[in-house]
């Protein structure tokens, strides 16, 4: 990366000698990035972020097919960059349908088929979910879209760098993944576009990226993306195995150290998901007591049901952000789907789509292991979370009510629990 931030500063589009080095670097990176996902280099479009790739895929593919139809199908658990892109098309006469997911976050092919209309021009279903780790059977879903002759886009941000991705095998027409998924620099991402796929460019101007994305390339970031992709390609099996094992430790050991927790998303083989300690209207009884399907075994599509190294858990009666702050004090970096921890002040739409009630989504904790996460890190987390949860439960009015045998979530007369708008 460094040469392109220093002496090798030329514009890759320039024909003179200063453009040559940067141009070769971009081409080499394109080959490395393509090789990681078994794609043709020419089918890789470099963008600045996965959000941009998703915007380009949704808007670009839909706009170029506007004469044929204006209906789009996506899953209810997509990243906001997909959901907001869909909304942005509505004033142009487009409509979209969101396919519901099962309680583990999976899109069922039947549900996808039911959402298809005669004027559907695009289907978008993410490969893996960034919050609950669910891996979709993209091969089957893409085949379904192909039967309708509709292009299929998949957001692979949470899949690439964790599971082996073979785009040719998946059979998708467009696929998003950022450099960050493979420990590359921020500021570079890719959109795979199958050869011959029509797309309208969103950034007009120059002829970079074969007319699909104008603008001078961020050569340093792209070079870093290429190098990171090459390393990932050789190391991925080793990393995946290590991350799977570490996550498995949390799945196995945390329930022994902390009560009233419920894992969300697909969880390990044979484990019976305990019901929530308390129920409320709006929660589905179907969640409770179900036997989890195998976690690491392969399914019909040949992919695991959950990405390695990803744990999502509800710690009942405790709010997510408060846990994050105390974990941070211990040097543990985690995330949450609670509304307090989100800038939008809205609880995670992913958890709500999985039929989790608001009260439980507020208590979510998301842990992501990386290639450098160690057993000592996991042990530290397993040691620190139970006292943090105990401390917060001690001051939680919900836990106090639960202990007294009352319903912590009883709605008082005259009050309704409505989602408030955005603030500030």
């Amino acid at each position: 990366m460094l040469p392109f931030l220093g002496g090798d500063f030329g514009n890759p589009s320039s024909l003179h000698r200063y453009g040559t080095g940067p141009r070769q670097a971009v081409d080499a990176a394109r080959a490395q990035v393509a090789a990681l996902v078994n794609a043709r280099p020419d089918d890789i479009v470099f963008t600045a972020s996965a959000s941009e790739s998703n915007n380009l895929a949704i808007k670009g593919l839909a706009l170029s097919r506007g004469a044929k139809g204006r209906h789009i199908v996506a899953s209810a658990v997509e990243h906001v960059s997909v959901l907001e892109s869909l909304k942005s098309l509505c004033p142009l006469g487009y409509e979209f349908s969101l396919v519901p997911v099962d309680p583990e976050g999976r899109v069922e092919p039947d549900k996808l088929a039911a959402a298809m209309k005669t004027d559907t021009v695009l289907v978008s279903v993410m490969h893996a979910n960034y919050e609950v780790g669910t891996v979709q059977n993209i091969k089957e879903l893409a085949a379904l879209a192909r039967r309708y002759r509709v292009p299929f886009h998949s957001d692979g941000t949470a899949a690439v760098g964790r599971i082996s991705v073979d785009i040719a095998d998946l059979g998708v027409d467009a696929y998003t993944f950022p450099a960050m998924s493979v420990y590359g620099p921020k500021g570079a991402a890719a959109l795979y576009l199958k050869q011959g796929t029509r797309i309208q460019s969103l950034i007009e101007g120059g002829f970079q990226e074969r007319n699909r994305r104008a603008g001078t390339e961020d050569v340093a970031a792209i070079a870093g993306f290429g190098a990171a992709a090459a390393v990932t390609k050789t190391k991925l099996p080793e990393w995946s195995a290590a991350m799977t094992r570490l996550a498995q430790r949390i799945f196995t050991e945390l329930p022994k150290k902390l009560d009233h927790i419920v894992f969300t998303g697909p969880v390990p083989a044979g484990r019976v998901q305990p019901p929530f300690s308390s129920t409320e209207s709006g929660g589905s009884p179907s969640r409770a007591g179900r036997v989890q399907p195998p976690f690491s075994s392969t399914e019909s599509g040949g992919s695991p049901s959950r990405v390695p190294g990803q744990v999502s858990v509800v710690v009942e009666f405790v709010e997510g952000e408060a846990m994050l702050l105390f974990l941070d004090d211990e040097g543990i970096a985690a995330a949450s789907g609670s509304s307090c921890s989100a800038k939008t002040l809205k609880a995670s739409h992913v958890l709500l789509a999985m039929d989790l009630p608001h009260t439980k989504a507020q208590s979510s904790l998301v842990l992501t292991m990386g290639k450098d996460t160690t057993d000592a890190d996991v042990s530290l987390f397993l040691e620190k979370l139970p006292p943090i949860a105990a401390r917060l439960r001690e001051i939680s009015p919900l836990y106090a009510k639960f202990k007294k045998g009352e319903d912590p979530y009883a709605v008082k007369p005259g009050e309704t629990y409505e989602e408030h708008g955005e603030h500030g």
Partner: protein
């Protein structure tokens, strides 16, 4: 994201707990918002002799509850009723803009606990019946129907 003072109250909140035989109990918030606060008050000779709380919520919500309890303790009922959510945020050295609404409900919870005490007191004194929230004359009921419909008790 948070000021040092907020983090300090979050890490070591004051007056956590419940008061047995409290003179007043007040509750605000809802799980959709993500913050719920319950306050208990003990009142002696018109002064808040003890204030305790329990809070389910983010760092700001916990710090706000703690600060309100400190600000109210030892004050008269009238003084405590004048503590506003804005005063609490100010005392904490400010709160992030997006936390000013839903996490900053501590004063409201305190006021509900005090109102709850006032209702009980009026009932005990068997004075002319007036709704404690809006002074509407009423007969047997503790509070007037419109206030009851708003969930007050």
């Amino acid at each position: 994201m948070y000021s040092e003072k907020v983090m300090e109250h979050f890490r070591s909140p004051r007056n956590v707990g419940e008061i047995d035989n409290a003179d007043g109990v007040g509750e605000v918030g809802n799980p959709v918002c993500g913050d719920m606060m319950t306050f208990w008050v003990k009142i002696e000779n018109g002064i808040l002799a003890d204030v305790k709380f329990k809070t389910f919520g983010c760092g700001a919500a916990i710090a706000v509850s703690s600060m309100v309890s400190e600000m109210a303790k030892g004050r008269t009922v009238e003084e405590a009723m004048k503590i506003s959510n804005a005063d609490v945020a100010k005392e904490l050295g400010g709160l992030p803009p997006n936390k000013l609404h839903c996490s900053n409900l501590g004063a409201d919870a305190l006021h509900r606990a005090i109102e709850n005490y006032l209702v009980k007191k009026r009932k005990a004194e068997k004075k002319d019946c007036h709704c404690p929230y809006c002074d509407t004359p009423i007969e047997a009921s503790e509070i007037c129907a419109p206030c009851k419909a708003q969930g007050r008790n």
